[in-house]
Amino acid sequence: MNVRIIKDKMMHAGVVFVTLCTLVPLFAIIYSVVAKGIGQINWDFFTKVTPNSMEAMLAVAEGKVIPGGVLQGIVGTLLIVLPATFAAVPFGIGGGIYLYEKDNSRLAAVLRMIVDMIQGLPSIILGIIVYLWVVVPMKSYSAIAGSVAMFIMMLPMIVRSTEETLRMLPNNLREAGLTLGGTNFRVMMRVMLPSAFGGTATGILLAVSRVIGETAPLTLTILGSANVCYDPREPNSAVSLLIWEFYNDPNMQSLIWSAALLLLVIVLLLNLLAKKLSKG
């Protein structure tokens, strides 16, 4: 056989092998989370709050599934992430438009630097800052504080994805809008942003899926709660925070995996949706 063909086949085999190697950890993770977590997934898991340690211990001793679920975490996560998203989307898109429009201005350079710095900030530091800014003045841990932390985390991702997507659009699209007598603002709202919808929506979903799993800043802002709480001024719970709490309670071990499974499924779905949107 020709040497070139042999080389080609070897390269091909090598690439396939390396690809498989990267897929193994992903499937191993999904497998173990599902295997360990599926046992606790039942109706109660979504509709009841977490039992106290004593009830869990008794159930485990009798070989039953732990009664109750993570309802307060689901409510808390929604109460924290939804307002954060609603606030971060307009500000993030606005910031992205600004960076795109005023590409070379000094303010854009400063803004871009700040955005990159926030993106690189360890989330625990963000937690401490929000503790100082929100929790201390309000004299209470609260879902609001959690939302503020999540908002700050999401902002740079949305700003950057909006800017990048706008930049990928052909420049003559904008010129075409302006030659029809559109103002900059109308061309942006009617042509550029709608054309960039796929990329921007992807950025938003990825930002949501990223913050939904954050735990460190939540320990410093929402503290935790054993009951469902709808008041954003009160301490609250979150699915990710519950995983951490279950880990610290020897009686709750199997709930760790069920909560992890829930989080994993949400994040995977958000990522798949993001992928679909980005392809338009």
Binding site: L173, A176, L180, G181, V191
Partner: protein, 254 residues
């Protein structure tokens, strides 16, 4: 038809950087209801000149323009660029229908972008008339709600012309409108240009000298930012006064 100069270019210079003009001291008059071609080698400033005519060059910083361009005796640099661009439409090298809009919405986009609200019946009429005048109506009347980007390149370019015509401009600027199209699509666009000059004055930048001879009533030859010669097309190609024009049209440099 009663002909008069609809556009007058007076002492126009365009500088991208201080002291480095891309277009130098141009003086020319463009007659209404004619097709004027701008030819010349790459980098001679023909696109720059065209883009100054509807002030689209203002999108980019640090571009300095001196001189005047008069449209119906009014200096366009003294008017709102929005009004200027409504009266002076533009078609680009690559067809660029708005990807977020249907064919129907693309034709009306000039009105949408100007914030003009129209009745449904007026909209339908504008869409039909303008698609008809670019010869696209029969091809797309069943699929008006499809995205404009589904059309072939030549159809997309005709859609872009319809979109520009919908605003009833006085002048239509075309920047190498067929250089991204195949010969058949090119032929259709050229036929269209000849039909349209009854309604609108057309200025077309082209790399293709045959195209200039086929389309243009008069032609400008530009070289290194200067307008070397501006004559009726037949004169320019058969009896050029300037040595540079002669060299260029006989293919001695490009």
């Amino acid at each position: 038809m009663n002909q008069y100069p609809i556009m007058k270019i007076k002492n126009l210079s365009v500088e991208y950087a201080k002291g480095k003009p891309a277009v130098k001291n141009i003086n020319a008059e463009i007659m209404n209801h004619t097709v004027t071609a701008i030819i010349g080698p790459s980098g001679c400033g023909k696109s720059t000149l065209l883009r100054a005519m509807n002030r689209i060059h203002e999108l980019y910083d640090n571009i300095n323009v001196t001189g005047e361009i008069l449209l119906d005796e009014e200096n366009i640099f003294r008017k709102s660029p929005i009004i200027v661009r409504r009266k002076i439409g533009m078609v680009f090298q690559r067809p660029n229908p708005f990807p977020n809009m249907s064919i129907y919405e693309n034709v009306l986009s000039g009105y949408t972008l100007n914030g003009i609200k129209l009745k449904k019946s007026t909209k339908n009429e504008i869409v039909q008339t303008n698609l008809e005048s670019v010869g696209l109506w029969d091809e797309v009347k069943e699929s008006l709600q499809k995205k404009g980007t589904f059309l072939s390149g030549g159809q997309q370019q005709r859609l872009c012309i319809a979109r520009a015509l919908a605003l009833r401009p006085q002048v239509l600027l075309m920047d190498e409108p067929t250089s991204a199209l195949d010969p058949i699509a090119t032929k259709k666009i050229e036929e269209l240009i000849l039909q349209l000059k009854n309604r609108v004055t057309i200025v077309v930048v082209t790399h293709n000298m045959q195209q200039a001879t086929r389309l243009a009533d008069s032609s400008m030859f530009m070289y290194l930012g200067e307008l070397i010669e501006y004559l009726p097309t037949y004169e320019l190609f058969n009896n050029p006064k300037n040595k540079k024009t002669q060299d260029y049209i006989s293919g001695n440099f490009s």
